[in-house]
């Protein structure tokens, strides 16, 4: 998390800042995802997850965050990827979506970006994936997929 930096994707001069939004990017299974900072409460790296019985495998359990109990979702398993052992880089991003707090386990957190919303394009339907609705390709050729937070909590 130390390498978390702010890096502005170049925007046209004079364009109103209304369409600029901040996104936190993280990596899960070698794919870079972005999540609007409006949802992000905090990032924690030390945790004790209490496992819950009889829930889908992607629900890792609940954690105690200063007296609040927060359910933890492993984003890898949620997207049907193979599980991976947690390392030092693994961390939990606590999101608050429509008053519901959840934590997502990600491989690593990279940076916070200012992204022009006008440049975000939808994902081609034939490649439609669960939980992601849109994407952006950056100058250096890398691609960021945006996490659809509301879909994450809906069932």
């Amino acid at each position: 998390m130390a390498e978390t930096t702010v890096d502005i994707i170049e925007t046209d001069e004079g364009q109103s800042s209304k369409s600029i939004q901040r996104f936190l990017t993280f990596v899960s299974d070698n794919i870079t995802f972005g999540v609007s900072t409006d949802y992000v409460i905090e990032i924690i790296s030390s945790y004790m997850i209490c496992t819950l019985p009889m829930v889908p495998d992607y629900i890792k359990g609940i954690i105690n965050l200063r007296g609040q109990t927060i359910p933890i979702i492993d984003i890898r398993l949620r997207m049907g990827k193979m599980p991976q052992d947690y390392t030092d880089a693994t961390c939990i991003i606590i999101l608050e979506i429509k008053d519901i707090s959840v934590g997502i386990v990600v491989d690593s957190v990279t940076q916070v970006l200012d992204i022009d919303l006008d440049r975000i394009s939808p994902i081609p339907t034939q490649n439609q994936q669960e939980l992601t609705s849109s994407m952006i390709s950056r100058e250096d050729g890398s691609v960021i997929l945006f996490l659809d937070c509301e879909e994450l909590i809906s069932q």
Binding site: M54, V55, T69, I153
Partner: protein
Amino acid sequence: MDASMESLLETYLFETNSLLDGLDELLINAEKIGDFSEDDVNEIFRSMHTIKGSSAMLEFNGLMEIAHHIEDLFFYIRENGIDSLDQTHKSELFNLMFKSTDKLRSEIEKVENNEPLETNIDSFVGEINGLLKKISGESSDADDTTNSSSAETSADGTKSAAIPVSAGDVPYFIHIYFEDGCGMENLRAFMIVNALQERELNFTYYPDDIDSNPDSAEKIIEDGFYIGFHTEDELGKGCTVVSNAQNIRSYETVQNQEASAPEESEPTEKAASVEKNTASPAASAPAKGKSDAAPAKKKEVAPHGAVKQDLISVNLSKLDALMALVGEIVITESMVTSSPDLQGLNLDNFNKSARQLRKLTDDLQDIAMSLRMVSVSGVFQKMNRIVRDMKQNLNRDVRLTIIGENTEVDKTIVDGIGDPLMHIVRNAIDHGIEENVEDRIAAGKDPQGEVVLSATHTGSEVIISVSDDGRGMDTDAILAKAARNGILTKPESDYSQKEILMLLMTPGFSTNTEVTEYSGRGVGLDVVKKNVEAIGGVVTITSELGKGSCTTLKIPLTLAIADGMEISVGKSIFTVPISNIRQSFKATEEDIVLDPAGHEMIRCMDAFYPIVRAHELYNIPDACTKIDDGILMWVDASDKSYCLFVDKLIGEHQVVVKPLPPYLQQFHIKDSGISGCTILGDGNISIILDIAHVYEAARGIF
């Protein structure tokens, strides 16, 4: 709606609801005696007056109109004495009053839910007026006509006399005209007077009978409303109050030159004497009315002031937040004092302070808990109303006896028992009490049926029971009905009395073949059971044919804090509520008996109980699998009794129960036997098991 209006509305709702609750209670008690006492009449009059005033202020016209007409009705009754009504009128009056409070309540509910209010209340108002006409028509004799005519003359007399009097006395005036057609001018004036009184200003006003004489409204429309002040300073303060009032078309300040000169003491004396004069020529009736009103108003004010000092109403969410915080403090306290960093150190001073801290946090917790405790009387009083209505509609003579209504329980529990109790009380009257009085007399019982509603404390539980002295339950009939409905799970002859009564609480069971307005839709007792279980309680039914039945609810005092036993299974830690544990014991492989399907059972106290292995149920790795290594815990919850196999007992703790995060509700986590979680001293989470559901979950996987 801005914030101040919002809080005004909140106060209005709170106040009106408490007034209506009070009225209901009063009506029930009055009806029991079959008569209104003078105090009752005054009380109803005052309540309606307050509701009228505050509804008018918030411009809920329908509410205001209803209250206004009831007030008129009771004004008449107060003037003429309740004894002028005969019995049929009284019972009509009771019915009308119950209807009116219901009507008001339903309108208030609409206000609460932000729904549009009913605008067409004419028929209802007509009903009230009809009764008023009926009672006034019959008792109208010479006396009445003189009354009204003398009242008129007195009004006229005051008008002509009071203006010069008040004008001569006081140097400064505010002269107010209300908006055309705003209605209830006398009340609006009265609100201003109230506001001025709150400022503790010294003033006089004309017309001075605005609170008791509805005709004064017209006078105010014609001549305006005068408020007199003795000093300029007070005039200024008065002006600010008036300028903040609503629906005022115009107001002006008037200075009275003649009056500013004379001494203070004399004019007041003069005013008093003149006022007496104006009152004395009037017939006795209005004067009596006025003098009645005056002490009545004082009475109302005095307790009000006291209540304001002793009680405050607090938003429940704030209390919840406080409870959560206190819970955190309790946990943090034990986290600090049992910190592993302190182990092996000999810290006398620290230990001393830690003990002190523990004592304080315990006290804090007790106080915080007691804040949420409310007496069950509110819920119990509502039952009075239900019994009363059913008595009328089913034509059964029943009395409700209430015992221990001051028993206190957690607020959420009080809210949770309302509906179940209502069901049970309805059942008791509809199914329990004999339909014909002859049947009761033949059985040697009091012709009047009795339903006893009682609440008592026992340790950490409160026991609420509803018992009737009716015909009792016919177990054979229940069994036959259950067989017909196909809800039996074993041969009829195998059912014990207790089990048969339990059948009553199975979904889709109702012993009454006829559906009445009150019960018999087959959604009764199973819903009761579900609701009570939702707040952690247990329902049991006992009955003796011919002698009556008794439904008992055993409910924990609070949901927020529970005594729990920490147990470990593999690496997981669970908490089992102490109230569910009967016994914990070691067993060996030889003690286990297998049933034909391969389910494990063990013998405790001459009966066999199934064994539920927690590690199998929850699929926990690294747990003890041999019976010899772990420990068996004999638990029971409502009608289920079984042994839970776990690794180890860790110890007993008081735990703060936290609900599971809302996100997890969609996975039906409650059905897997988890009722909540708690945070342990070391910051880890322990899952609280719901013993009844654990068994059901276990049965699912067998």
